[in-house]
């Protein structure tokens, strides 16, 4: 059993002929991900890289029995693409796109929840289970199979930390990007439940950042429910209040969402907090 995906997971890519979609679909194929089809309205009947069938709609793609989809379309079209996937009943919907209006994300997330569908993102790097499956944009070469599960709100910072974990001799059981937006499908608590139930996972890394209170809620949950070792890293200690630090969700508002509050919550829950990204492997051992 693995976290959310494995080597048999059948994946489609919505927007497979786009600039981002085609590049990342190619990298996913190299990783070993089973991409069964791609969609691109008006380009149905062609093939991606001479092997993956391209169809016009998700409902046509359902003939390939996909269990997961990666949505890589421009922000104004994300709601439509996500509704298309949700309406077709695909169980795992990952949205790569950034700058999606959060009112759209609220509708996507609530509709999916009612139907038992998992949404990852928007504006996240996706999921990688080394040796099994990658859906998303994480660089292929930084992973090694192991027992550390990582969840994060950011992309490159996750790669930085995964790279340190791999170089230290450890490896990863799953790496999940929740997304950098104020409204995303997965919370740290959702992911902690998956990690706690996953047999391969022995240790957990949570990478948090300023904005919102999901890290504080996670800390409380860890104290009460998580038996596996958890290490955290929080970024945005030096961020001024009221400024959005790149991610739409990375903002301290009315004193809520500070790094201090998150670090304190984790420390109170017995979770060690790394000062720098390269301190993470040492705290895991």
């Amino acid at each position: 059993m693995t976290v959310l995906v494995n080597k048999n997971t059948k994946v489609i890519v919505q927007g497979i002929t786009g600039h981002q979609g085609s590049f990342h679909a190619g990298e996913m194929l190299k990783f070993g991900t089973r991409i069964v089809a791609g969609t691109s309205p008006g380009k149905g009947g062609t093939k991606f890289q001479d092997k993956v069938p391209v169809v016009d709609s998700v409902s046509e793609a359902m003939a390939f029995e996909p269990e997961a989809t990666m949505i890589s379309v421009a922000a104004p079209f994300v709601k439509d693409a996500a509704f298309e996937a949700i309406d077709s009943g695909i169980k795992l919907v990952y949205i790569l796109t950034e700058k999606v209006p959060f009112h759209d994300s609220m509708e996507i997330v609530h509709e999916a929840k009612q139907r038992g569908i998992t949404v990852m993102g928007p504006n996240g790097p996706g999921i990688t289970v080394p040796g099994e499956c990658k859906i998303g944009i994480m660089p292929n070469q930084i992973f090694r199979q192991g027992d550390v599960a990582v969840a994060s709100r950011s992309g490159t910072l996750t790669y930085e930390i995964v790279d340190h974990i791999t170089r230290s001799g450890l490896g990863e059981s799953a790496v999940i990007g929740l997304g950098g937006d104020p409204v995303v499908g997965l919370t740290y608590i959702d992911v902690l439940k998956l990690f706690e139930a996953d047999e391969r996972t022995k240790r957990i890394v949570l990478v948090g950042e300023i904005g919102g209170n999901n890290e504080e809620l996670a800390a409380k949950y860890i104290k009460e429910h998580v038996k596996k070792k958890v290490v955290a890293y929080i970024t945005g200690r030096s961020a001024p209040p009221g400024k959005r630090m790149g991610h739409a969700g990375a903002i301290i508002e009315k004193g809520v969402g500070t790094a201090e509050s998150k670090i304190k919550a984790f420390e109170e829950a017995g979770v060690k907090v790394a000062e720098f990204p390269d301190d993470v492997p040492g705290l895991l051992k």
């Binding site: 590049f23 922000a75 104004p76 700058k99 209006p101 959060f102 009112h103 994300s105 609220m106 509708e107 609530h110 509709e111 944009i137 660089p139 070469q141 994060s152 709100r153 950011s154 992309g155 490159t156 910072l157 790669y159 930085e160 790279d163 950098g180 104020p182 409204v183 995303v184 919370t187 990478v207 950042e209 300023i210 904005g211 919102g212 209170n213 999901n214 809620l217 890293y233 970024t235 945005g236 200690r237 030096s238 961020a239 001024p240 009221g242 400024k243 959005r244 630090m245 790149g246 991610h247 739409a248 969700g249 990375a250 009315k254 004193g255 790094a259 000062e275 720098f276 990204p277 390269d278």
Partner: protein, 369 residues
Amino acid sequence: MNLYEYMGKEIFRKYGIPVPEGYVVEKSADVREYKKPVVVKSQILLGGRGKSGGIKFAKSQADLNAAAKELLGAKIRGLTVTKVLVEDMVNIKKEYYVSFALNRSERSPMLIASASGGVEIESVPHSEIFTRKIDPLLGYSDFIGREASKFMKFDKNQSAQFRDILGKLYKVFSEEDCELVEINPLMETAEGQFIAADAKVVMDTDSFFRHKDINITDPEKTPLELEAQSKGYAFVELDGNIGVIANGAGLTMATLDALTLHKGKPRNFLDLGGTDNVEIVAQAFDLVLKANPKAILVNIFGGVTKGDTVANGIVEAKKRFDIKKPIVVRLSGVHEVEGRKILKDAGIESFPTMMEAIKMVVKVAGEAQ
């Protein structure tokens, strides 16, 4: 994006939410003829304007002229007043609070209301605040207003006015893609009318593709931040002396944190994003140079953004802008070896780890004049 009160009130008016009659003045000579008592309100994005002297009352033409003259150009808690809103004074009976805001952990809008208005809602005891989650798929409906009215102990007439405003306020929240719409105070006049005495509207800039009519520059951004925004960079000015270029919001924040923990002072936040374009790297230097740092740190973990592309962008920028200031680079990930060779050939120092680069840039920034 945070809107000024007068902009928020224009939107309220469009949706039929009652607001006092008023007009905006940028030059004190433009105040109109005095007819009845007015309030002169500085248009700045700060809570507690009244306490800081940003709101004046005028009961004569002389008062009005003096208030406009005094406020325009004044500095209030560091912000310069460039506009004042002149509004008819209303006879206050009671002040309430009402807002719709995004609740991030619930991923839903939240209605917040209180009979204790006119003060910061954070200072009101929880027992006096009504909060209710709104299902974004169902939206606001009158039953929610009835629940809130009961909590507020409103009579039939008060409830009818309040619910009418709630319905319209939610329409603003959802149709204008807002993060927050807040009326504080929502005033009940001596004549028994409800009226929005203030307006706080925060819009989601990611929604602007469907609000093409909106043509407002963010009042809270500096000129350099606005320039960066127009060029597509996430950029924040800070008050230190080390320019920072990194890729990814999380890694850029982590870079600023690590610099700060090593007693370095970042001058800016600049996220290159995922790019494989030399020109985007070179243009980033243009922005950072305009902030006049003592040294520049580039921190790249290559993925979509490849090491050799970044290296070529740095070499190009150094040549094009004739950069004499120290540049310290960390390159790791995809095409790291190729990138570091390009830099070495151009005489630019680079490191494989973030910590080495950070220690070096703090050192050279300390030495630079």
